[in-house]
């Protein structure tokens, strides 16, 4: 039978009388857990922000026409050469329209699909921005701005002006922030654009668009879909891209495949488009865990050392306890209890410190042109990490306490009492 109150009483007395070692060991755990919580909250917060930055800009499925060579060359259709070996040199891509064939029927099909939250048509046009004698290459995206606002975070990226202003102005343009800066233009000004064919149109700047990704902001602007169709001299069914948002994102891959088959267009799902991005997140997580686990292992060694020392100092006590009727298990539990008490105390303190530091980071101003919507460092307050933190504190102190306490259990009291 194990008498816990006696065991805990002895453990407590040992901890209190060896205050210095106790504090050192506890702080080791506190430091490890605190650092883990802070790191993981900050890192995952950062990951989340970057995810949002990229993923919200990416549709769940992106449909477009890809320029590629014909899969079957005309000669292989010719029955008479069926058994012959045909050589075709210098294959060129098929003369292909960028336009999605049957875009309007596809759109109306998608809008009725049960898993589709929305589908927006886009028209990407290569254009030049004219500023005095300088021509800046770039592109102009024709969009249904109200639908885009509903389905993506484009609203966050319109740093000046409003989506409605664009909607209401058939000659309006949301100019990329980098372009506006390069050409010293601001809202209300006019900008001249020229198509690849050489036609020049003046457009009125109704807003500034800033995604935070310089490569985009330096080349891309938005206008209404029919404005761009008019500039290119194309009809109302001329659409180069369709962006789809789904209700269930997990369906994106199979749905992209079936759309490809059904409509004979290229359909890229979100996972395919962001494969490298995922890798980045994973590596950041890996680093976070590697650092945290290292800290905790160091803390664990601290506890291990201190308990080992304590057991050396307490050899006589252990012998007396055993001589007066405490079993090896009792003695082991006395030292295990000390390790676990240190783990609980240090662990909870660590959670508190981690929470405090995360809070501090969360309130630290962080302003950068690249991220217009962010004002403070992003921190992810997630209960799971606190749970993992305390579990890790307990497990590591348990392991660190087990080995020394097992030694205490096996100490032969006769040897100690004899003094050998």
């Amino acid at each position: 039978m194990i008498n816990w109150s006696v065991i805990l009483g002895i453990a407590k007395t040992h901890l209190v009388t060896k205050m210095k070692s106790t504090v050192t060991a506890t702080l080791g755990v506190t430091f490890g857990i605190g650092a883990y919580i802070t790191l993981v909250s900050f890192m995952t917060g950062l990951n989340g922000m970057l995810d949002d930055l990229v993923l919200n800009q990416t549709p769940h499925i992106h449909m477009y026409n890809e320029i590629r060579p014909s899969e079957t060359q005309p000669i292989s259709r010719y029955q008479e050469f069926k058994d012959a070996m045909n050589f075709v040199h210098s294959i060129k891509p098929k003369q292909n329209q960028e336009k999605i064939h049957n875009a309007l029927p596809i759109l109306s099909y998608l809008k009725k699909h049960p898993n589709v939250r929305g589908a927006t048509p886009q028209l990407r046009a290569q254009i030049f921005y004219l500023s005095g004698s300088i021509e800046l290459g770039g592109n102009l995206v024709g969009v249904d701005i109200i639908e885009e606002v509903r389905l993506s975070n484009i609203q966050d990226n319109i740093v000046e002006g409003t989506p409605e202003a664009l909607k209401n102005n058939t000659n309006g343009i949301l100019l990329g922030a980098g372009l506006a800066e390069k050409m010293s233009l601001s809202i209300g000004d006019r900008v001249q654009i020229s198509t690849v064919a050489g036609d020049i149109f003046p457009l009125k700047i109704v807003g500034i668009y800033q995604s935070g990704i310089a490569e985009i902001d330096n080349v891309q602007s938005f206008a209404n879909l029919n404005t761009v169709q008019r500039i290119l001299g194309e009809s109302e069914n001329y659409v180069t891209d369709i962006n789809i948002k789904l209700l269930n994102i997990a369906e994106s891959e199979p749905m992209a495949r079936s759309l490809e088959k059904q409509f004979n267009v290229k359909a890229v799902d979100i996972n395919e488009a962001n494969a490298q991005f995922e890798t980045g997140s994973n590596i950041r997580n890996l680093i976070t865990y590697a650092v945290s686990i290292t800290l905790l292992i160091v803390a664990g060694f601290g506890i291990y050392n201190i308990l080992n020392m304590l057991i050396y100092e307490k050899m006589k006590d252990i012998a007396i306890l055993k001589a007066t009727g405490f079993s090896g298990k009792d003695v082991q539990y006395i030292f295990m209890a000390q390790a676990i008490l240190i783990g609980i105390l240090g662990g909870f303190l660590g959670l508190l410190i981690g929470f405090g530091l995360s809070h501090l980071i969360d309130n630290t101003p962080f302003e950068t042109d690249a991220l217009p919507t962010i004002t403070t460092y992003p921190v992810n307050f997630n209960g799971t990490y606190y749970f993992i933190g305390i579990a890790f504190a307990l497990i590591s102190t348990f392991v660190a306490g087990y080995l020394p306490s097992n030694r205490a259990k096996k100490i032969d009291p006769v040897k100690i009492i004899r003094g050998t």
Binding site: N3, I320, L321, A323, G325, D330
Partner: protein, 225 residues
Amino acid sequence: MNLVLEAKNINKHFHKPKDFHVLKNISFGVKQGEFASIMGKSGSGKSTLLYILSTMDTDYTGELSINNQLVTGKSQRELSQIRNKNIGFVFQFHYLLSEFSVLENVMLPAKKLAEKSHAEIEKDAHRKLEMLHIGHLAHQRASRISGGEKQRVAIARALINDPTILMGDEPTGNLDSHNSENVFNIFKNLKEEQGLSLLVVTHDEDFAKRTDRIIQMEDGMIIGH
């Protein structure tokens, strides 16, 4: 008469540094209420024998019974229970837990036994300390009392669970003649008033002569009792 402790043909060897037959065919018993002492030259095996009799050392051959119950071959857990309940042990060096108070030191074995409530144990502990005239030290840290006082605290601790037998390995070895006398009288009283059985190793001839029986040891053998 009833034997509280009985040893039959106990043999023990030390294997390191070389084989050494330290106890040879030890057979004897201690009767209920008997105050026996063990004497012998240094190195004759007295302490070794006492560690076996107190169940702390299990590396021997032969049979040991306490209260007519065979203890040889029992598990470590059972042996620690037997030590806790039936055997009180007093060492030459007082061996108290220095971080605990005198009272807590005395109470610990009873708390482990857990047959009585905390309040009862505390009352018992006070009573034992009073009996040994050190009641006023109850709340002192065990490290802050004199050697003679420590020895009496150790005796109080050995008695807390009202054991069947009290064993001592030179319990007066470190005390002056006055304190030795004191401890002897305590033992005598325990025997006479409570019928406690005692087995005490001593080098003090005067001490031994006044006990009921002297067991003489030489070279690991009992040569007279």
